[in-house]
Symmetry: C2
């Protein structure tokens, strides 16, 4: 029995497999070779205990095979599903995911970008809240939901179209006075266009509406007095509510029921995100569904695009409407 | 204005800062130096655009600062919260997380371990379902929820104690005939001890009980006939049900209500995991709570422990009971 070489090289593998060195290199870099050659090389590599050293490879070719994903948290299902999808898409393209969660902390976001650079990642996909984020042009960068400059491609769902669609659906389903409730970070981002789309649709179509705008610091409970005020003789002043997230919609639905209103009879509610309850895979509410898988794929496609001169500054992916029991359809 | 050197070295930084080369090295490796020195080095590094090249560092010192986390999915909130915690704990200890999601695919799990080795990670934390996983002893490995051999440290919640606690709580709260419903992977893992603990407590205390065991392939709906059969004259044969996950408990709760039973009046239900609904941060049900943060910390502590001769083969972390509206407390 032959002892394994302690540090077998590609040359050792070529000798063992009886193939040219170039063939071994191709197999190790996932470049197609004849199936027979591939098997011989893989068996020889296994026998000798040969391992590709991605670090040596990273130094030599600048190809580390790592992409950094910077995301606020995995405690919210939208970010969990998005991260899962980005990780799977990168894996399929031969890349690994260096994950950093930031809790939306601005300083942490910049730390994570610096850390990613130190690890010589080949690209960064980030969903951040820092308006002064440190982006350089050496490493490809794709932003999700946050538009920085024309030089940083941003991927988002069609938030504006989603806001329009929500207003239109509520109207088509019989609502005649619409309310938009919005909660989120005070940092401007693409998701703010949900409100703009909603408002624009109502104005263009002459449908009366109101918008109530809160920041995360106000808390979800800050909407309770708004709802209380709008009830006159047991009926709501607004008969269609568009909430800017499914999470907010779920909270509003509970409040409406506590206040004695029936959904969707007295008031119809539409959320945004299209999340499914993990216990039964059912929607929380009628919702504008974000195309999460396609957002992940598009972000990776743009990141890995070799011609960086033609990248669109903003890619808005089409959303769809899905009934979920809180509208009359 | 001085042009930035295209590839400044540590020597350039030392010259710029007016300090010894060793001081720069210490600062770059997070080894404590006087605050004044640290600031001077950091400012010089920033001015020159000096970046630590972790790849070069990885080759030279074998310290890449990366730990791989291999996890089935981020679409389930338990894994999302666990991953978030592991990532945060690693970050605090100066490590980065290389994330791989496997969809519980056995081959993918081994691929991910091989990939982690190629990237010269300093350790692997994995939650896997492959009984023949390829673990070598070169890279520290910590398994979550799956016990392989005495040489691979495993971290889990105290599943056995949790099963006992669920039976005991149901009994203390007045239930007199107990049912345990279990669904999951057919692969044996630490979570199976929830059933063993429940069964053992019932036997030791002479409390009548039954266990119904299903695999993921059977689907959650396969419990419906079991529940239908157990109803006699509108009352359930079993008045206390322990479900092996909160997800299963949520499904069972809906079925019980559909069958006309009141919870917790007719039947009390306890789940396992201690998840909170992300829409209102409330529990889905009364539950045995897994100490997720502590599990993440412990897995990292064990992984980074320098003396690998004394690591416990299995670390079971204490669970707690939390009422959540589906029991009479």
């Amino acid at each position: 029995m032959k002892a394994k070489s302690s540090n077998p090289t590609m040359k050792d593998v070529a000798r063992e497999a009886g193939v040219a060195l170039g063939t071994v290199s191709k197999v190790m870099n996932n470049i197609p070779v004849g199936e027979d050659y591939r098997i011989r090389v893989e068996e020889a590599a296994k026998k000798l205990g040969y391992q590709v050293n991605s670090y040596a490879k990273g130094l030599k070719t600048n190809h580390t095979g790592i992409v950094a994903l910077i995301i606020p948290t995995l405690k919210h299902p939208f970010f969990g599903v998005l991260t899962d999808n980005v990780c799977q898409v990168l894996m399929k393209r031969g890349f690994r995911t260096l994950l950093a969660t930031t809790e939306s902390d601005m300083e942490m976001e910049n730390n994570c970008i610096r850390m990613a650079r130190q690890h010589k990642v080949e690209g960064i996909i980030a969903l951040t809240y820092n308006p002064d984020i440190e982006i350089d042009e050496e490493i490809p960068f794709v932003s999700i939901d946050r538009f920085y400059t024309n030089r940083v491609p941003c991927v988002a769902s069609d938030n504006y179209g989603g806001g329009q669609l929500a207003a239109q659906k509520l109207y088509e389903l019989g609502a005649r006075k619409l309310l938009h409730l919005r909660i989120g970070s005070p940092v401007i981002g693409e998701p703010d266009k949900r409100e703009a789309g909603f408002e624009s649709w109502c104005q263009l179509n002459g449908v009366p509406y109101r918008v109530v705008h809160k920041n995360d610091a106000d808390g979800l409970m800050s909407f309770r007095p708004i709802l209380e005020e709008m009830i006159r003789d047991g009926k709501p002043e607004y008969d269609g509510i568009f909430c800017n997230t499914d999470q907010l919609a779920a909270v509003i639905l509970k409040m409406l029921r506590q206040l004695g209103l029936s959904v969707p009879e007295d008031v119809q509610v539409i959320g945004y995100d299209g999340l499914l309850d993990f216990t039964d895979y059912k929607p929380y509410c009628s919702s504008i569904v974000q195309p999460v898988e396609r957002m992940a794929e598009t972000a990776v496609d743009i990141l890995l695009n070799e011609d960086r001169s033609k990248l669109p500054a903003l890619t808005c992916l089409p959303v769809s409407y899905r009934p979920g029991g809180t509208t009359r359809d």
